[in-house]
Structure formats: C-alpha cells, structure tokens
Amino acid sequence: MVQVKIWGSLAAMTDDQTEIEIEASTLRELLDGLAGKYPGLKPQLDRGVSVAIDGRVYNDGWFTPIKPDSEVVLLARLKGG
C-alpha cells in the first residue's frame, strides 16, 4: 500500500480524506487504483494529473516504480509556456 496525498478540492470525492491508501507498485497501478476506489476522481484523472514521487514529478510514465514508503502526491497536470 502507498499513501497518496491529494489536493484539497478533490477530497469531496474521497470521503473528505486528503491522504488515501492505494495498493500500487507503479504509477499505472496507482492511477487505476485511484479511479477504481474513488470513481469521483475519474473526471479529474481523465483531464490529467501529474504525480510527485519522492519529490520528483512524473507526467506519464506508467511503469515508474513506487516504493511502499514513497511520498506520493497528486498534482494538477503540469504545463508550461
């Protein structure tokens, strides 16, 4: 299980929790797990998110490994100018 921090306005979709536990060892498993456990998150996941794993931000890499003690933070999908 990994502990995932989500941003505050998503908590309405996760029973008011901003930290949730998901069974995942990769980014893909994490995103699938979030959508499966909290279907209310799916619209935001479909619009796009980035994920910070131990301080490094990932946009796409499905098979990025996640360790059980990793710090995992869901972020709005990063873009730039």
Partner: protein
Amino acid sequence: MALDDKQQYQTREFKVVGTRVKRPDGVDKVTGKARFGADMSAPGMLIARVLRSPHAHARINSIDTSAAEALPGVHAVVTRADFNEITDDDFTADILDNCMAGDKALYDGHAVAAVAANSPAVAKAALKLIKVDYDLLPHVTDVDAAMAKDAPVLHEGRTNESVPDGMSPNVLARYEFGHGDIEAGLAKADRVIERTYKTEATHQGYIEPHACLASMGPDGQADLWCCTQGHYMVRNTCATIMGLEQGQLRVTASEIGGGFGGKTTVFLEPVALALSKKTGRPVKMVMSRSEVLRATGPTASSSIDVRIGMTKDGRITAAFAELRYQGGAYPGSPVEFGSMSAFAPYDLENVKTVGWDVVTNRPKQAAYRAPGAPMAAYAVESAIDELAKGFDLDPLAVRLKNAAREGTKASYGPTFPAIGLEATLRAAKDHPHWTAPLGENQGRGVACGFWFNFGGDTCVTLNITPDGTVTVSEGNPDIGGSRASMSMMAAEELGIPYEQVRTIVADTGSLGQNEVTDGSRVTFAVGLATIEAARAAKREMCKRAAMVWGIEEDAVKWEDGAAHPAGENAGKHPPMTLKDIAAVASNTGGPIAGHHEANPEGAGVSFATHMVDTEVDPDTGAVKILRYTVFQDAGKAVHPDYVEGQFQGGAVQGIGWALNEEYIYGDDGVLQNAGFLDYRIPVASDLPMIDTVILEIPNPGHPYGVRGVGETSIVPPLAAVSNSVSEAAGVRLTQLPMSPPKVLSALHSK
C-alpha cells in the same frame, strides 16, 4: 520513464558546455535570410483573411457568404459549417471553436468566416461582402463581475465537479491546495494583513505574428509550414480537427520570432487547411498585429485576496490566498498553477490556496511563461514585503528566514529535494546592488519566484556524416537557443569541437512525437536525449574501432573524440578519431548514428530572486527602471549568453506587465488598444541593462545538471517592481499595471 543511473547528474570537467560559442542562427537572422512563418510561399498559392466578430458576445443566426464567393478572384469561403463537429474531446472542440466560431461569437475578434483569394486586396474586399446576422448578448470581461450570480453567462453545463452548487455557470473549476490550520497559525502572528490585488491580462508580445502555409491534396496528404512552439502539437491538433491521419499531415516549423507560450496552440492552421482542401490550392495566412492582440491568447487577468500572519521577528505563521483568474471564453485559465506556486518559495506550517477558473468574453488565454505564477507571486510577495517593512525588517532576511529548503514540505504537496532558493537570496544579499545608495523618489524592491519545469516526449537523432561532421535532428522549434545548446552537449559528449556539429529542427515526418517547446523543458529533456544519442553513437564507434583492431568491443574506450584501446591487454593501437571511424563506416557495417527517444522526468524545480530600483516622477506618475538584477539557479548554464538572455527577457516582460501592459476594454466589450502604439511594451530605451547572476546548483535528474531557466524569470518581476515603486512612492500599490495615471492617483491618495 525513470532515469537510469547514467542519466543522473555526474560531476565532470566541461570543455564545451559553459562556453559562449557563436550562435548558429545569428548570421541568417541579422542578414534577413532566416525564413519565418510569413516567408513561406508555394506555386499557385492563395491568400486568406479572416472575418472577426465586432461584438463581445453575440448569437450567430446566419452567415451569408454568397456575395463574397461571387467576387472575382475569390476561390473559397469557409465558416464553421465547413468543419466536422468534435463531440468526444472537449479540449480540441474548444480549440476548433476558438479558430472558427460556432453558434456564438464569444469575444471581440472571434473568427466567424475566412476567405481565400488571389490577393490580399481581394480577400479583404470579400470579407466586407459577408453578411453575418447577429443577436447581441450581454457580455462580461471582468473576472469578479463574471463570478456574480447575475452575470451574463457564456456557457451552460461546463462547470466541473469541483465547483459548489449555486455559483455562476461562468465559474468552471475550483482548486484547493495546502496544509495545516490557517486560523490557528494566524492567531500566533503579531500582525495579520489582508489585501486584494489585481492584475490585467497581458499579451506574450512576440514580434512575429502568427503565419502559416497549408497545402492539402485530393489524396488526403497535407503539408503545413507554420511558426509554432510545437509542430507535433500542430500536426496532432489539426489532424483531429480535419479528420486526417496524423501520418498524412507533415508539419514543418519555420524560424520563430518569439512565442513565450503563446504559440503552444493553433489559431490559423486548421482554417488554412480547410481552405486548401476546398480550393485544391496552397493557402497562406498571416495575422496582423491587431488580430494577434484581439484573437490570440493573452494570459489571464486576476483578482487575488491574500491573508498572511507574521511574528515581529519575521516568521510567517500562516498564509492564505484566494485566486480568481479569467482565462477568456473557454475553460483553462492557469489558476491551478497560480494556486500551487503562490507560496512555493516558503517553508510554511499553515498554508492554503483556493483557485477559481472563470470564463469571460475575452480571447481564449494561452500559456505565457510560467503560466499563472507571476500574478500569484505578485500578490504574495507584495504582502510579505508590506509585513516585513511594517516590522522594519530586512525583506531579504525575512525571505531567508522563511525560505523553502531541501526537506521542506511544499505548499502544493511534495517534499523538496535540493533546491536553489536560499542560494539566490544569499547571492542577492551579498550583491553590491543591495547596499547601493538610493536618491529622492527612488525605491528598491525584491521578490522571489518559483516554477515547476517538466520533461515530456522527446526524440533526437544524431548522424555521423562520412567526413566526420555530426548532425543532430531535434523536434523542438528553437525559441531560446536550443540548436546551439544541443550542438554543445553533443560536442561535449563526443569530445569534438562545437563547430563540428550542426543541429536542425526536423519536420514531423522525420522523428517520433515531441512535446511542445514549453515548460522550460527543451534544454533539459532534449539535452538529455542528445547526450544519450551521442552515447549510443560512441558505443557504435567503439564497436567499429574494435572491428578494425580485431579486439573485443569492451576492450575499447572513448576519450577526447577518439576510440582508444581500453588497456594493455587490448594491444597497442593508435587512437581512431571520430573522423577516422566515419571514413571507414561503409567498410565496417554502414552509416553510424545514435538516437534516443524518451519521456524524461526529473526536470527539477527552479527559483529566482529579483532586485530592482525605480524612480517615480511625483508630477506625472511615470516610473523609470534604474537598476535591475536577476539571481537565478540554472543547474548548469550550457550557453551562458542564452541563459542571461532568458533571465533578462523574463525580467523585461515582467516589467512591462508591472508598469504599462494591459488589455483595455470599453463598455461595449471591445478591445480598445489592439496595437503596439496603445498596448505599451517596454523597448530598449525604457530600460537599463538587466544584470544577471547565474547560480549553478546541479539538477540531479540531468547528466550535466541542467535545469530549465525560461520561465522562472518572469515570476518575481511584477512584485519586485511593485515593491520598489511602492517604496519610491511612499504608498502601497495593489493593482497592475502601475501606469502613470494609477501611480499619480496613489500619490494623491497619500
């Protein structure tokens, strides 16, 4: 993709990287040979012009194009009826609607029809013959007004699940970030201030207007030449809109006269393709400056409430901001990035931001350098400055006291790895600028800024030519010196002179998918791919040398541009240089190349501190920039001239945003200043030389330690200039731009 160990930073002695080599595009640009978007032409080419709505908000009942089509010299007219509707992709559907209005014109300047004709004069005459039957609708252009419950509504049903019931349908999304307990934190403060700050929409102000040339054949194949920050994005977007297979549309990027985020989407390209499809002829389109200002993306305007508590020794006990951004007529203002970045420079126990994405009857906003962050930093850094000065504390010392460091839990969630904010603050404190004397009516301001940076899909091919020169093909338009930087990194890795390498920007048929040139990603991500491509070529060259010498591949090493036997057991062989190996490539297995395709992550966040002196004319309210110094972490400055240019350019654009630039709408919702005479960007004579201090704290996620630098430099200047002007004027200003009438009004209010 996770980085493997070799892609992590490793210390090394640089020979090429870090030098100031000659830029490869310089001669073409100063002699006028460089081909920009408007310089493309083709046999039989038609010229197209766009009819734009003169109304801020109107229902389009009908468009009669018959008279225009009957005009001699006119070959075709297109309206929205010539495009297939997109029903399964809101993002692209909005782009199409912005390129050509559907049932409503949503802002002054919104395209409603386009004409292709033999000449610009005929196309222009034809526009006057198109009859559009409009029903005028009430409009709204101010973000706070648009959030009111009785505001004119642009769209129904676009609000997403994050918005509470009962709000205006113009409010499309809500974001909330932070941690801790704001009220408990504020209770510990010796002073709490609560302020509202406003910023106006500003345009990216690139000197080259949008331009393209489209040619679509009856066989379904199409070619497009355009000025863009991302020709792969253009290909993919236009293919979706036009119902083409991506592989059938080849897009070639021209030289680009600035983008700054504003060329990360399409405006003309689908229209040109539709006209080419309809006429069977190549079609060229070039925007006027007025069209650029009326119909392409400025950034969002904002209205921001800030509440910050501080102890008398300068510790921030709690910080809250509510950010309202209007992003024009479609969803997607960068308020989430404003909300995430607002307090990112600080180590705060109690912090919260709430952001609202709002639509108004203005052009669809486009990204602008560090989208969303400068306005947020303006509000936060202004409030921190006011608190520090209220306690008679050194504003740099207060920022150092609260600065985020390695291990800080960022306001937007993650824990920071090694970061460079503290280094920029210490460099600022130690710089002679900080202690230089100031005169009457003069003030000094400082501010910090942050940007995320990222990587993204990237492909590089590196070819060894038969004579031993090297060509690098990248897929990102060069808006900030990437051709020089890629050549330098290839030369560094191969151990050859910079002059032996040439980098080109390849078309979409030549490489795999490449993310847009944005997010300060190119020197990081394309640089990493270039280094990896060079390493692949080195491996192959070592293999070829091993064949020639009759030894095992792993008995060969690459040093100083040549293959060498790896040790005594490999035998005594004279080194084979890159040129030696290239000369026998045909005899040893054929041409030699290296390539690398990846989606590199690990870009590493970026921080800057800016310092500026201003003088306020008490009679006119005019502000003069006297001195400006940028302190920013570049990880490793590959080509310091370009890095300094990025720092200076961001500062100057921020100065314009702070002092003069603004979209001015009349009561009718029509833009009043759609030209550079009335939309005042800073020019060289307005400015001193912008001084720069490059700090190099290596990014652990890049083999050479490179960190993107293009965006962070526009984040601090709005606040730095405002803090300086407020000190010079002796009164706190809370709205941008600080144009002479506003400064004079503030002076009179003292």
